[in-house]
Structures are given as C-alpha cells and as structure tokens.
Symmetry: C2
Subunit: 101 residues, 2 copies
Amino acid sequence: MSSAELDEMIKALSHPVRREILNWLKQPEVYFADQDHPLSLGVCAGKIDQKTGLSQSTVSAHLATLQRAGFISSKKVGQWSFFSRNEEVIQHFLTRLNEQL
Amino acid sequence: MSSAELDEMIKALSHPVRREILNWLKQPEVYFADQDHPLSLGVCAGKIDQKTGLSQSTVSAHLATLQRAGFISSKKVGQWSFFSRNEEVIQHFLTRLNEQL
DNA sequence: TTTATATATCGCGATATTGCGAAATATATA
DNA sequence: TATATATTTCGCAATATCGCGATATATAAA
C-alpha cells in the first residue's frame, strides 16, 4: 500500500458516518436483519441510506469514498448494489498503521 | 476514549504532514540530530518548522492539532516549546481502532 | 528598557469536504 | 413501450481545512 493509498484510506475513515457504515457491515445480520435479499450478497445501498438518515445521494457518495479507499466492494445484482467489507484490506491497513504510527 | 475523541484523533491523522511529524518524533535522534538542546526535552518547534518546509504558523497549527488530539505533548522551557509523542495514547488509539474498525 | 528570538494567534483567501435535490442511468415490470 | 424502482452522477450552497503573512505574546539578552 503506497503512501498515497494510505492517505486516501485515512481520509476515508475521517468521517464518523463512514466509520459507522463500516461497522454496520461488520455484522450485517445484526444491523440489516430486515433485508429482503440474502445478506450473503452484501448489504443493499438503500438499507444503508435508511439507517444513516441522510439523503440517498449523500450516502452513495460516502459508499463511493469507502470503495475508492478499498475498504468495501460492491456487486450489482439486478437493480441493486450490494456492499460488503474487504476484510483483508482492512487488516492490511491496520497492520500498516500499527507499523507507521 | 469517547467517540468524539476518536473522531478528533482520526481527523488529526488525516493530513500527511501531521503523520510525518508524528513519525519524525518517533526517532528524534535520527531526524533532529542537529538540535542544540537535549533531545530528552523533546523536539523544538522551530526544528519541525524547518523540516516540513512550511511556514512557522502553519506548522504551529499542525502541532496544536496533534496536541489537541492527545498524540503529542509540549513542554515550554525558556522561549522554546519542545514536543514529544504520547506513546500510551498512540497505543491506546491503535488498540481502539483495531477493535472498532 | 530596547532588541532579538521563539512560538502562538489572528485574519484571510484558496481549496476540499459535506449534504442536498435534481437529473441521468440502469434494471425490472406492466 | 411506458412506468416503477434502485442507484449514481451533477450542480450548487454551506462549512471545514489549509497555508500564508502579520501581529501578539513570552522569554532572554544587550
């Protein structure tokens, strides 16, 4: 992970809503039990919108930020986008921060 | 460490110059070997100014941000301010992040 | 007291981030 | 095709951050 990538990752974490989303995605079965689609696909963007209370477009931007940083991935199924954590990336980031800081 | 404190800490880290300063302070004997005062006091603000290449006021603000976040402390001796890392706080922060993220 | 040195604070312009509604895009259904 | 649903992208206003020079403050030395 380059210095620029690390920078993008930390900036992605520097917003409480984005950290909260990452945290929700850690236990989808706890936070998104009411989702119509199987949670194995990931969590549907709209469900995340609801949970934040922010506008749909704002949350979409937050999700894009987390994805650009590499923390989450999305897969499109039908008209829905499902998001899930990239655990390896997150672990790698934490390791890097533990060394660097 | 409260959620608001964690937020302040991550924001403090979300600027490459501030992370670089933190890193320099990890090994003052490597990065500030030319300091006139004993490094045991900490690193003098002016030496940090020089190393960044930014203006004195800008660096002073960065140091204040790091200090508000708890990552560093300053002690004033004569007309100088000496900065040093708060290792316990940094460790605590990393532990918290490892859990939370 | 005056002058020099070190640092912090102030004010301001430039830039980045955030949040929104509206519009565009994509997919599914009638 | 037309309509409904889900999401992304666009444009814009509000706010926050950054970096600077100028000024204020604090200490030390002449």
